[in-house]
Structures are given as structure tokens and as C-alpha cells.
């Protein structure tokens, strides 16, 4: 129990003194996870919406696969991305292993199915409401997807925040493809793993509290910016 108090004190000290290393790894955590979120959303939102409005032969199979991929073990994704990006792998010439770019790629793979599944669920219900209207207006597929995405933006935000939550707290994959290099690929979660390994639990826990606070701040910021939970607007 003492160690938890020591961790809280350490977290407070780190934030209060604006520790340069802490700011560095916090910004990198944000950079990696937000980049992954933007790319994953750009892929998942249109794809999941398209899946909601299109009927085709193997639709059920595709949706089941997408849902199953939500449970992708990050450490396996990390290992596969590692082998692909290694110098002996097919994309070795790009020299991306042990860079933030490799970490972003791994996180995109991990969170895209999650965002897509939640989006698809929301869009399917929205589509049953909008179905007759959009078809009677003789809209194109592109217009239908755009309308659904815009009108379902609250649900999509939940999907995106779930993806962000999984990305920012993830350690298995980015440890393997990033390598936890100081000032290059060290982020909050890998730093916590490192400090735990050194037996410095107070610092590890301090970083943990910073990570939780960061996650809260991002969620609050997005909610504030998109003005949810306000009378007349939600």
C-alpha cells in the first residue's frame, strides 16, 4: 500500500517539475497513438459503414471475421509486424523497424478491427432508420455512407475513443517493434515496463498515473470539443 502512495507522490512530482523526459515520452505516446487512431479511423469508418449498407454473399463471414479480429493479441501482431519489417523480412529495405512508424503500423492493425466493429454495430441500426429515406432520394453509395457517418458521429466518437484507449495502453506490440529506445521509441507503457524491471515501483507507478491522467484528458478534450452531453445538442 505504501508503494501506491509513493507512486502517487512520484506522479505528482514528475508533473509538477515538468520533467523533460516525462514530457518527451508523453508526447511520443500521444503522437504514436493519435496517428494510429487517425489512420485506423480513416480505414475503419468508411469500411464499416459500407458493410452496414451493402448486401453481398459473404457479408456475414466478413463481419464475423471483423468481430473476431477485435481480440487480436497485440504481442502476436507485434511479432508479425516485426518479422515483416526486419531487414530479412519483405519490407526490410524501408528500415522502419525500431522507429515510431513501426509502432504506428502495429497499433493501426490492432485497433482498426475494434473501431470497425463498434462502428458497424451503430451504423446497422442507423441504416434501418435511414434506409427508406435514402433509397427514395435515389442517393449514391458514397452519399449514403457520408450521410450515415455524419449523422452517426456520436457513436463513431465512442468507437474512436475505444480505439484510442486500446492504443495508448498497449505495450506488447510496441515493445517488440519499437524496442523501447530512449528518446526514440520509448513511450509511457514501455517506460513503465522498464522501471518495473529495475525494481523502481514508485517511478513505474508514477508513470502509470500520468498515463491514466493523459487518457482522461484526451477523452475530456474530445467530448468538450464535440460538445456532447449538452442540452439540445446531443
Amino acid at each position: 500500500m505504501n508503494e501506491i502512495w509513493a507512486g502517487m507522490a512520484e506522479a505528482f512530482l514528475l508533473i509538477w517539475s515538468l520533467d523533460a523526459d516525462l514530457i518527451d515520452i508523453t508526447l511520443r505516446s500521444l503522437q504514436v497513438s493519435l496517428s494510429a487512431l487517425v489512420i485506423a479511423s480513416a480505414l475503419a469508418l468508411p469500411l464499416a459503414t459500407w458493410l452496414a449498407i451493402r448486401r453481398f454473399r459473404h457479408r456475414r463471414f466478413v463481419i464475423a471475421t471483423m468481430n473476431a479480429l477485435m481480440g487480436l493479441p497485440p504481442v502476436v501482431v507485434g511479432l508479425i509486424v516485426y518479422l515483416l519489417l526486419s531487414r530479412t523480412g519483405p519490407f526490410g529495405v524501408l528500415g522502419l523497424l525500431f522507429t515510431p512508424a513501426a509502432m504506428i503500423i502495429a497499433q493501426v492493425i490492432i485497433i482498426t478491427p475494434l473501431i470497425a466493429s463498434i462502428t458497424h454495430q451503430a451504423m446497422r441500426e442507423l441504416w434501418s432508420d435511414y434506409h427508406d429515406l435514402l433509397i427514395s432520394l435515389n442517393t449514391t453509395h458514397g452519399q449514403r455512407i457520408a450521410t450515415l457517418i455524419w449523422d452517426g458521429r456520436r457513436a463513431l466518437m465512442t468507437a474512436a475513443l475505444a480505439g484510442f484507449g486500446r492504443a495508448i495502453g498497449e505495450v506488447g506490440a510496441i515493445m517488440i517493434v519499437g524496442g523501447n529506445i530512449d528518446h526514440v521509441t520509448r513511450v509511457l507503457t514501455t517506460a513503465i515496463a522498464l522501471e518495473t524491471g529495475k525494481g523502481d515501483f514508485a517511478l513505474a507507478l508514477g508513470l502509470g498515473f500520468v498515463l491514466i491522467a493523459l487518457s482522461l484528458c484526451v477523452n475530456l478534450a474530445i467530448h468538450t470539443l464535440s460538445r456532447t452531453e449538452r442540452e439540445g445538442l446531443w
Binding site: L94, L97, F98, A101, I104, T196, G197, G199, D200
Partner: protein, 265 residues
């Protein structure tokens, strides 16, 4: 769209690689805190930004084989010689040494303190069936432990539940040993710099069999043309320089020197 993403990724990936070198180093090099004093000195003297990948010796040699790092810094002589013999490393340079120590609960249920050799110490642990934590991660420390068990005529595969392979780095394994009240083989530097000693103490050391040599091996540019051979050469020259000698010999924790420089220039 996809091309734009790829370009962004490539730019982001290469932007940070001005004059940098990737070094895969054993966990003890980092857990001991030595890297925290050596790397700034290297940056200051030869302007080289060393990016440290902290892994076990087994993984370090794998990274070197596939050309994902420019050089490795490890401690397992047989693996190093094989690495050079197979042409993955251009040469091997001995830099410094310390020693392995046996750590255990201060109460010492297996009477390791009374042992006269490392082999005897391990044998008394085995006959007392005292809980023992093994790294189990194919690191230099793990290989040393395996070699010691083999010399003591024991095969860890036959041990009962008192022998626990945790499959983790030095620090994490020390944490486990501390929590399980277990014996463990560690390198002296990691032990001295470890923050969660609890009721554990150093019980046995000083047997020549526990000698622990660290070496530097640049990855062979003939096998991987993209490695930064010049930077790796510069770092190798710096590591055997008098300045490196002063820093390595002068690195102390609690008044105790951790490493002894033994490179021949």
C-alpha cells in the same frame, strides 16, 4: 491515400537517423546504470547518438544476424565466437568484465554461504530443493546458469517445482525472486543497482567460474550492406579508449565498483 501514408511513415522513420547507431545490448548493461553514463560521454566525444535496444544476449545476436542493429554488446563467449565464425560479426572485442553472484533470502535456508565453490553452492540449493528462479530467456546470464548446472551434474529439466523459469530480464527476474523468497543467479552490477532488494542479500561470489566478460561485436557490413560500419568502428575505438576505461572503472554504486575494464587497445 496509401502512398501518402507510406511516404509519411518513411519520412517519420528516417527523420531521426542523422548520425545514429543502433546497439543491441544485454539487459545488465542498462539495468546496472552504466549505459546512462557511457552514452552521454559517447555523444559528447564522437558525436554519435547510440540508440540502445535492451534485450537478452540470445535476442541481441538474432538482431545482429538479421542486420536490424549495427552492433551488439553481449556476454556469452561461445555465442559471440559462433556469431563471428558464421560471418555475422566482423570481429569481437572484449571490453570489460564483472562477475555473477548468487542472491538469496538472508536466512539462507540452503546454506549457500558455507559453500566453497559456485558448483557446491548450486548443489546445496538442489539438494535442499530451495526455491530457485531462473531467467529462462536464453540470455547470457541464463546460459551461464545452464553451464553451471551442467558442471554440477544436474539437468534443470529434471528439477521439481522449486526450480522456476520466469522467462524475463534480469530486473524482472530479481523482482520475482524477491517475491518468491527464492535464490537467483544475477550479475553483480544489476544486483547493486536493483531497487527492490527486500530481504535478499548477496550470498556467494568470488569463484573464477563466475567470471563474466562483456564484448562488443560490430555487425559485418559484407553481410548487411546497410549497417553503419564506420560509426560502429568509431564506437568500438571509443570503447577501448582511456576515457572509456576511466568511466567504466570509475562507475560505482554505494562505493563499490561494478565493472573492470580489460580491453586491449
Amino acid at each position: 491515400m496509401i502512398r501518402a501514408i507510406l511516404i509519411t511513415l518513411t519520412v517519420a522513420g528516417t527523420a531521426a537517423s542523422a548520425e545514429t547507431l543502433r546497439l543491441a545490448a544485454t539487459t545488465s548493461f542498462n539495468n546496472s546504470g552504466l549505459s546512462d553514463v557511457l552514452l552521454p560521454a559517447i555523444a559528447q566525444d564522437i558525436g554519435l547518438d547510440v540508440q540502445l535496444l535492451v534485450v537478452g544476449t540470445g535476442q541481441a545476436t538474432r538482431l545482429g544476424q538479421s542486420g536490424d542493429v549495427d552492433a551488439i554488446f553481449v556476454h556469452s563467449k561461445s555465442a559471440e565466437l559462433a556469431f563471428v565464425a558464421a560471418g555475422y560479426g566482423s570481429h569481437r572485442r572484449e571490453i570489460m568484465y564483472n562477475d555473477f553472484v548468487l542472491i538469496g533470502p538472508s536466512g539462507d535456508p540452503a546454506q549457500v554461504r558455507a559453500a566453497t565453490s559456485a558448483i557446491e553452492a548450486l548443489q546445496s540449493i538442489a539438494s535442499a530443493q530451495a526455491t530457485f528462479v531462473s531467467r529462462g530467456d536464453d540470455s547470457g546470464t541464463h546460459r551461464k546458469e545452464m553451464a553451471l548446472w551442467a558442471t554440477a551434474d544436474h539437468d534443470p529439466a529434471d528439477f521439481a517445482a522449486w526450480y522456476r523459469e520466469v522467462g524475463a530480464g534480469m530486473g524482472a527476474s530479481l523482482n520475482s525472486a524477491s517475491a518468491m523468497n527464492a535464490y537467483i543467479l544475477a550479475d553483480r552490477a544489476s544486483w547493486l543497482n536493483f531497487g527492490n532488494k527486500g530481504d535478499h542479500s548477496l550470498l556467494f561470489a568470488g569463484d573464477p567460474a563466475l567470471f563474466n566478460q562483456y564484448s562488443y561485436l560490430p555487425v559485418n557490413p559484407e553481410r548487411h550492406a546497410h549497417v553503419k560500419a564506420q560509426a560502429a568502428q568509431a564506437l568500438g575505438n571509443w570503447l577501448v579508449s582511456p576515457r572509456a576505461e576511466r568511466i567504466i572503472n570509475g562507475y560505482e554504486i554505494g562505493g563499490e565498483a561494478l565493472f573492470v575494464f580489460n580491453a586491449r587497445p
